[in-house]
Amino acid sequence: MRTRSLAVNALGILIVLALWQVAGMRLGEALVATPVQAAVSLVATLREGAFWPALWSMLWQMLIGYAAALLVGIPLGIAMGRSNLVLAIVKPWASLFIVVSAAAIVPLFIILMGRGVLFCTSIVFVATVWYVVLTMTEAARGVSPRLLDVARAFDASGFQRFRMVILPALYPYVLIAARIGLVHALRAMVTAEMFISAGFGGLLNDAGLDLSTAPLFALIVMLMLISISATGVLRWIGHRSAPWYRSQTGG
C-alpha cells in the first residue's frame, strides 16, 4: 500500500516535470526555464558565494520571529480556547490581523523599524502568531469535556485538570500549530526580504530583475525543499512523541 502510494506520488511529480519541460521548450528560457535548465542553475547557485550566507541570514532571522510567535501564540491560544473572557477580547483582533497579508504591512514596518533584524523578525512574528493562536484556540476548545469529567470524578483540582488533561490533549496540536506557523513564517520572511532586497528574498528579487527564469526557479525549488523538509521533521516529531494521536486521526 505504502510503496504503491509512493509510486503514484512519484508519477504525479514526473508528469508535472514533463509538462514543465515541454512548456519551457516552447516558450523559451526568458519566460519559462525548463526543469533541466533550472537544475543546472540550481547547482551553480549552490556553488555561488552569495547563496549560503543569504540562506543563513534568512533562516536565523526567521527562526527568531517564529520562536517568538510560538512562545506568545501557544499560551494565548490556549487561554482563548479555555476562557470566554480572553476569547471575547482577543478574537476580533485575531480575525482582523489574520486576513492582512505580510506584504501589506511591510511598508508600515519599514517606516517604524527600518530595514534591520528587528524589521524582519517583527514581520515574521505578526504574520505567524495569529495562525498559531487560532489553531491552539480551536484545539483548546475541542478538549473532550468527557475526559475533563473523568478527571473531576477522580477529584482532580482545576490545576490538575489543566496539567493532566488539557495540556496532554493539546500537545499534538502544538506541533500542528508549529507546522502551520512555520510555513507562514517562511513566506513572510521571504516577502520581507524581497522588499528590502536582502538575503534570500534579495537573491529572488535580483533573479527576477535579471529576467533569468532558471535561477529564479532554482531558488523557488530550494525554498520549497526547505519548507517541506522542515514541516516533515515537525510531523515526524509529532508522530514519534504522540503515537496515540496519529492512531486517532489516521494521519
Partner: protein, 251 residues
C-alpha cells in the same frame, strides 16, 4: 459501616423535571442496579451522587459524611464509553486516581498493576488505549475505578457500548472481581437480564421524570452462574420487569 443514603433529590434541566424527590439507600457490600428506559434520568441521578451534576435539592450522605455536590471522596466511577485518557498507557490510566491523590510513583504503579492483574490485563500495562479492544478498554476503566479503593462504585451503563459476547464475559468478570472485593455498587443499566444477573436489588425506574416503579430483591444465590439466566425463576422475573416497563412507557 459503609452506607449510602440519598434523600429527596430533585433536578430539572431548563424547567424540565428529570428527577422529582428521589431517595435510595445502599447497604454495605450491596450491589444495586438502577434499571429504566434510556433517558429517564437514572444516569443523572448517578452523576448527582458522583458530584458531577449538582442537584436542585436533596442530600447525598456516604459513610456518614455529607458529600452533596462534591466529587471524589470514596466514590469510583466507571463511565459508559470507558473514557480512558488516550495519552496514558493502560497502567497510567489505572493509576490516574492515585496520581491525583499524590501517591508516589512506585506505590501507584504497584497498586495499578494489582488491579490490572485483577481484570486480566497484566500483559497490556504498556499498551495505549487505542491498541486495546472495546472490552479491554472497559476492563481498564473498571480497574481505574477499583484502584482508588472507593467504598462506593458507580457504574453508568458500563457495558452498553459492547457487543453481546463481550458484555457477557465482562459481566462475569465484574461479578468475580466484586465478589473478591465487595463494595457498594450502583449500576445503571437498561438491560433487564444484566440487572437480574448482577444485582442484589433492582430499582426499576419509570420514564422521565424518573421515579421508582418497583423495588425488587433478587432472590438468586451467589456466586452467580451463566446458566441461571435460563432458570424458570429468572425468566419469570425478567418477564415481570419487562411488562412493568412496557406498561409504564405506554401509560
Amino acid at each position: 459501616m459503609a452506607h449510602l443514603t440519598v434523600s429527596n433529590i430533585s433536578k430539572s434541566f431548563a424547567g424540565l423535571p428529570v428527577l422529582v424527590d428521589q431517595s435510595l439507600e445502599v447497604r454495605e457490600g450491596e450491589f444495586v442496579a438502577l434499571l429504566g428506559p434510556s433517558g429517564c434520568g437514572k444516569s443523572t441521578l448517578l452523576q448527582i451522587i458522583n458530584g458531577l451534576v449538582s442537584a436542585d435539592s436533596g442530600r447525598v450522605v456516604l459513610d456518614g459524611k455529607d458529600i452533596t455536590g462534591r466529587t471524589g471522596s470514596g466514590r469510583g466511577m466507571v463511565f459508559q464509553g470507558s473514557d480512558l485518557f488516550p495519552w496514558r498507557t493502560a497502567l497510567e490510566n489505572v493509576a490516574f486516581g492515585l496520581e491525583v491523590m499524590g501517591v508516589s510513583k512506585a506505590e501507584r504503579t504497584r497498586r495499578a498493576m494489582h488491579y490490572l492483574h485483577m481484570v486480566g490485563l497484566d500483559g497490556a500495562a504498556d499498551k495505549w488505549p487505542h491498541q486495546l479492544s472495546g472490552g479491554m478498554q472497559q476492563r481498564v476503566g473498571i480497574a481505574r475505578a477499583f484502584c482508588i479503593q472507593p467504598s462506593l462504585l458507580l457504574m453508568d451503563e458500563p457495558f452498553g457500548a459492547l457487543d453481546v459476547q463481550t458484555r457477557d464475559i465482562l459481566q462475569d468478570e465484574l461479578v468475580r472481581i466484586w465478589e473478591a472485593e465487595r463494595k457498594m455498587v450502583l449500576f445503571v443499566t437498561h438491560g433487564i437480564e444484566e440487572a437480574l444477573y448482577l444485582a442484589d436489588r433492582i430499582l426499576v425506574f419509570s420514564k422521565r421524570p424518573a421515579h421508582v416503579l418497583k423495588e425488587i430483591t433478587v432472590p438468586f444465590e451467589r456466586p452467580r452462574r451463566e446458566d441461571m439466566k435460563l432458570a424458570p425463576e429468572f425468566l419469570e422475573l425478567r418477564r415481570e420487569i419487562s411488562d412493568l416497563l412496557r406498561h409504564d412507557i405506554k401509560a
